[in-house]
């Protein structure tokens, strides 16, 4: 082999060796890269899993928030309904009290008129008027005065808490009582609690009327201790007394008159037919 040839062979061996070295280095680099990538994959896989949980939780949160919102609305609706029912209940309670009162008033009025027309006996009628004024209206001192058409004077025929003799006769048109009897208008003292008893100037004066014809008056001087003022039912009772007590008194008087005449006539007949 010539030196020339020998030289060429060495350089080619070198060249080959260089190439082989580079190949080895490259392989090593590849292996390192491979390892780095594996690690990265593992890392990314882990991250990915974490991301899934976060996404799932966010979704869950969104659903829960929507549900809470829904429940809040339902709660508002229920509260609104409760308030509505409470208002309705209050209305019913008020209405119940009103109906109870109305029932009570009607019972008073019905029984008062029923009793007033239950008899034709003059004394009994006066007794019933007295009972109504004591028990239903709640007066302690009062009187019933009737007009004597012949004399034009009003005189007491029944009294409670006052002696009959204490009550003077009153001329029609004179003083408070006489004026009420001629005008036919009800009279109520402005302040029943501050009223001071005066037999000529009562706390209440109610004319007893048949249509516009006054036949007498009811005068009240004192109410029961527990009776401070008049209730709406009292005014209705006064109105009822004004009319029904008057007709009951009038009917009883006519009846008594006709009974008397009948017995007088019967007496004559008996005398004549004896």
């Amino acid at each position: 082999m010539s030196s020339e040839e020998e030289k060429g062979l060495t350089s080619r061996a070198d060249e080959f060796l260089q190439m082989f070295k580079k190949g080895a280095e490259f392989t090593q680099e590849l292996m390192k890269e491979n390892e780095r990538l594996r690690y990265r994959i593992l890392q990314l896989e882990g991250e990915l899993q974490g991301n899934d949980i976060t996404v799932a939780m966010a979704e869950e949160n969104r659903l829960l928030a929507a549900r809470i919102e829904e429940l809040e609305q339902e709660k508002e609706e229920i509260l609104r309904r409760i308030r509505q029912i409470e208002t309705e209940n209050n209305d019913f309670a008020t209405r119940y009290v009103e109906i109870e009162e109305e029932n009570n008033n009607l019972a008073n009025l019905y029984i008062a008129s029923y009793q007033l027309h239950s008899t034709l006996d003059f004394r009994e009628v006066l007794q019933i008027i007295t009972e109504i004024i004591i028990n239903l209206i709640g007066a302690e001192e009062f009187a019933v005065m009737l007009l004597d058409e012949k004399t034009g004077f009003l005189g007491a025929v029944a009294a409670e808490g006052i002696a009959l003799e204490e009550l003077q006769k009153v001329r029609l048109g004179e003083g408070l009582i006489g004026t009420i009897a001629s005008t036919g208008e009800n009279f109520f003292a402005e302040d029943p609690e501050g009223y001071v008893r005066d037999l000529l100037s009562p706390m209440v004066c109610i004319p007893l009327k048949i249509k516009d014809h006054v036949i007498g008056v009811i005068v009240i001087y004192k109410l029961l201790l527990q009776k401070r003022s008049f209730a709406p039912v009292d005014f209705e009772l006064f109105t009822l007394l004004a009319g029904h007590a008057a007709t009951a008194i009038f009917s009883a008087k006519i009846y008594a008159d006709s009974e008397r005449r009948l017995s007088t006539m019967q007496g004559f007949i008996n005398l004549l037919t004896r």
Binding site: E100, I111, N135
Partner: protein, 125 residues
């Protein structure tokens, strides 16, 4: 259950009718009436009574006398009694309760109050 019997002792027929009317809303209740204390005792001699509602001011025998006689009678002493009266003073109320009345109602009455007292003393709803 047998009817509960309520005795109304009151001299005013108007009041007797009004009290009876107030009690009409109680079912299974019958009413016995007396015009004074003596008549009430006579009624109770022959009839069983579950509740007495009595006025105070009555002729012959008043309501307070009736309360003390009922409370002193071995057979009648446990019957509940409510007073219904025009007497509105505190001392009248105290005297009646001291004698053994269970409740005290002043006139003019409210039918709802009479009804409530009767229900309570009869132990019915």
């Amino acid at each position: 259950m047998a009817d509960k019997r309520i005795l109304i002792v009151e001299d005013s027929p108007t009041m007797r009718q009004l009290i009876a009317y107030s009690l009409k809303r109680l079912s299974g209740v019958s009413i016995v009436e007396a015009g004074d204390g003596v008549e009430a005792l006579k009624k109770m001699a022959t009839e069983t009574v579950d509740l007495i509602l009595t006025d105070i001011n009555m002729p012959i025998m008043d309501g307070l006398k009736l309360v003390s006689l009922v409370r002193g009678d071995a057979r009648l002493r446990n019957i509940p009694i409510a007073i219904i009266t025009t007497e509105g003073a505190a001392e009248d109320r105290e005297r009646a309760l001291a004698l053994g009345a269970n409740d005290y109602i002043v006139k003019p009455i409210q039918s709802g109050r009479v009804l409530a007292v009767a229900r309570e003393l009869l132990g019915i709803s």
